[in-house]
């Protein structure tokens, strides 16, 4: 848990974008990420760049890159450094440090080699302003590129995360990359805004699991591409590979920690209600099964407090869908699983 975080005022319309930066050799990629922020239709943006083992010289270079973008006004930014032992991957600590320093009501994260489409943050913040959800997510596309004659040549774009549509899917696995959402900090307890520093992989999914167990998310923009995950040869992780738990020992270990988190988390009743009885399951369960109050009561009874760990909830969802809808839900579930499996090898 992070200490000293305050809840921003609702008069505050600033979006703080936390960018973690690990490698001084990626300044050109970082500049493109920052250029994408300077082009945003949402103009009130604060950049919080957190550098792993940054020096004064690198901080100055990054500050200069920020200043040289075509911002409409004076850019708001902080460039911070954190020092670690050689070889230590401080990705969660970098995020936490950025969150601690962010001044905006709205919060977003961006990796140094990705970018956000011009309308992205505007769409998500406007969506949040029309509801009471804490987080709005949009569609993330993945581009694949190779270095060719000194340039990154994009040879493919697709949307491998589009299998995920709702809360039930998010409990099953992550389909919301870290730069595809915006959080409204006025609707969230400061003690919930932290990344687990034990995790150097899937820390973003762990963060979302903890939030989704407690708060409601806005999934209404999942068909609207808001950002791009750039996969190229210097990426630490392929966007599809992390779906495969057996990929590497590091991924296996992270998966085990995620599984432990799912078993230890308790889901709030309000989220549970939403998860089982509203829009979320309508994909899998025909409306007549979802809507009648008798089913609502049945489900609440089924999910007694001791059964409310996330893993058990996911099992119950699919058990319930299986019992009530037979082949339809099984087909939907299997189709998703097959699509995820195929996406891992695409």
């Amino acid at each position: 848990m992070l200490t000293g975080l305050a809840v921003p005022s609702t008069d505050n319309h600033t979006l703080s974008v936390v960018i973690r930066f690990h490698d001084p050799n990626r300044l050109a990629l970082l500049e493109e990420a920052i250029f994408s922020l300077a082009l945003q239709f949402w103009r009130d943006i604060e950049l919080v760049v957190v550098i792993q083992n940054g020096t004064a010289a690198i901080e100055a270079q990054i500050a200069e890159l920020i200043e040289k973008q075509p911002w409409l006004g004076q850019p708001m930014y902080q460039v911070l450094s954190l020092q670690f032992s050689p070889g230590f991957d401080g990705r969660s600590k970098l995020l936490n440090h950025g969150v601690q320093h962010a001044k905006g009501r709205y919060l977003a994260f961006l990796d140094d080699d990705d970018y956000v489409y011009q309308h992205g943050y505007c769409v998500l913040i406007e969506s949040l302003s029309g509801n009471q959800q804490v987080l709005a997510a949009g569609k993330c596309r993945v581009s694949r590129s190779r270095k060719s004659n000194g340039y990154w040549h994009i040879y493919q774009k697709n949307s491998p995360f589009e299998w995920g549509r709702n809360l039930a899917d998010l409990l099953f696995d992550n389909f919301i990359p870290i730069h595809s959402y915006v959080i409204d900090r006025t609707r969230i307890a400061p003690e919930d805004l932290w990344f687990d520093e034990q995790l150097n992989l899937l820390e973003d999914y762990d963060f979302l699991l903890r939030l989704t167990a407690k708060y409601r998310f806005d999934f209404s923009n999942l068909d609207n591409p808001v950002c791009e995950y750039r996969y190229h040869e210097t990426n630490s992780l392929q966007p599809d590979l992390d779906l495969n738990p057996a990929s590497t020992p590091k991924i296996r270990q992270a998966r085990e920690l995620i599984d432990a988190r799912k078993n230890s988390l308790t889901i709030s009743l309000s989220v549970l209600d939403l998860l089982l009885l509203r829009t979320e399951l309508q994909v899998a369960v025909p409306a007549p099964i979802v809507e009648p109050s008798v089913d609502k009561k049945l489900l609440i009874d089924l999910l007694t407090k001791q059964n409310r760990s996330l893993n058990k909830v996911v099992d119950k969802i699919y058990d319930f869908a299986h019992q009530h809808t037979g082949l339809i839900s099984i087909l939907v579930f299997c189709t998703r699983s097959v699509r995820k499996f195929l996406a891992a090898f695409r």
Partner: protein
């Protein structure tokens, strides 16, 4: 001293858009290190009078002629620019975008190596999916959103086809350039920030696109595409029947000057096999 003239047509653009564009132009001009190179900005207003927040690149304006469309507007700007004999290149630039600070440098450096080619900046973050060769950077056609036209190509081809009010004039110019033996290339290191995703559907745009597609098909002798465009114009409700669609104006280009083999109508408005859809 050589001059690059940047031509911009405004059409009721917001002050925000023009502020960002002019700021990006100033930054790009400041980062230009190519020797003996001047950059100037030439503007024509197709809509209301535009108000630019800061003087940038010795900006000058041509008198407005009303909404004369993109092709005629750009041709006016090019005629004026190339009257100055020191102007060896013209950059068509959309007003609703912003250049990356290194974009002008990349465009001019490439132009000085490739003076016989139309040069297109890479739109950012969403670049056009049409393909380009990773070694030669040749591409089937170049978008007019940020397009460098060398004097030599303008002298030979005379600018855009003014029968096209808006849309696809860049495809036509590219095909005419290739027909005449010039190249068409992408400059991947020149970024032009331009929002192409997340736009609300606009019926006027859809109509102009189909009408331009129909004209292009007629000019480049693709009956199948022309037929498709006319059917779409009716089925989308722009015209009650095909008889109601205005007759296609004849092109002033000699068919003998057109290499019909360069025209690709097999992939709808991609006019090439896209890298992604």
């Amino acid at each position: 001293m050589k001059k690059l003239t940047i031509g911009v047509i405004t059409y009721n653009n917001s002050v925000e858009q023009l502020t960002q564009l002019s700021k990006s132009l100033r930054l790009a001009a400041e980062h230009l290190t190519v020797p003996n190179r001047l950059v100037e900005l030439l503007v024509i207003d197709n809509g209301a009078e535009s108000h630019w927040p800061e003087p940038v690149c010795n900006m000058a304006k041509l008198p407005s002629q009303g909404n004369i469309g993109f092709s005629k507007g750009m041709n006016c700007l090019m005629d004026a620019a190339f009257r100055d004999s020191t102007c060896d290149a013209f950059l068509c630039l959309n007003p609703d975008g912003a250049l990356h600070r290194m974009a002008l440098q990349a465009m001019i450096e490439t132009f000085e190596r490739e003076s016989q080619a139309l040069l297109e900046a890479r739109q950012f973050p969403e670049e056009h999916p049409k393909p380009y060769d990773e070694t030669t950077f040749d591409t089937p056609w170049a978008s007019g959103a940020c397009l460098l036209i060398p004097r030599v190509i303008w002298q030979r081809l005379g600018g855009f086809d003014s029968n096209l009010f808006m849309y696809l004039e860049d495809v036509d110019l590219s095909w005419r350039a290739r027909s005449a033996g010039f190249s068409v290339k992408v400059v991947p290191s020149a970024l032009f920030g331009h929002a192409v995703l997340g736009r609300k559907p606009n019926r006027d745009i859809a109509k102009f696109l189909l009408l331009s597609g129909r004209y292009l098909a007629r000019k480049w002798q693709n009956e199948e595409f022309q037929d498709w465009a006319e059917r779409e114009l009716v089925s989308q409700g722009f015209f009650a029947s095909r008889k109601d669609i205005p007759a296609v104006v004849s092109s002033s280009d000699e068919p003998s000057a057109l290499d019909f083999g360069v025209a690709d109508f097999d992939n709808l408005f991609y006019f090439s096999i896209p890298r992604w859809t």
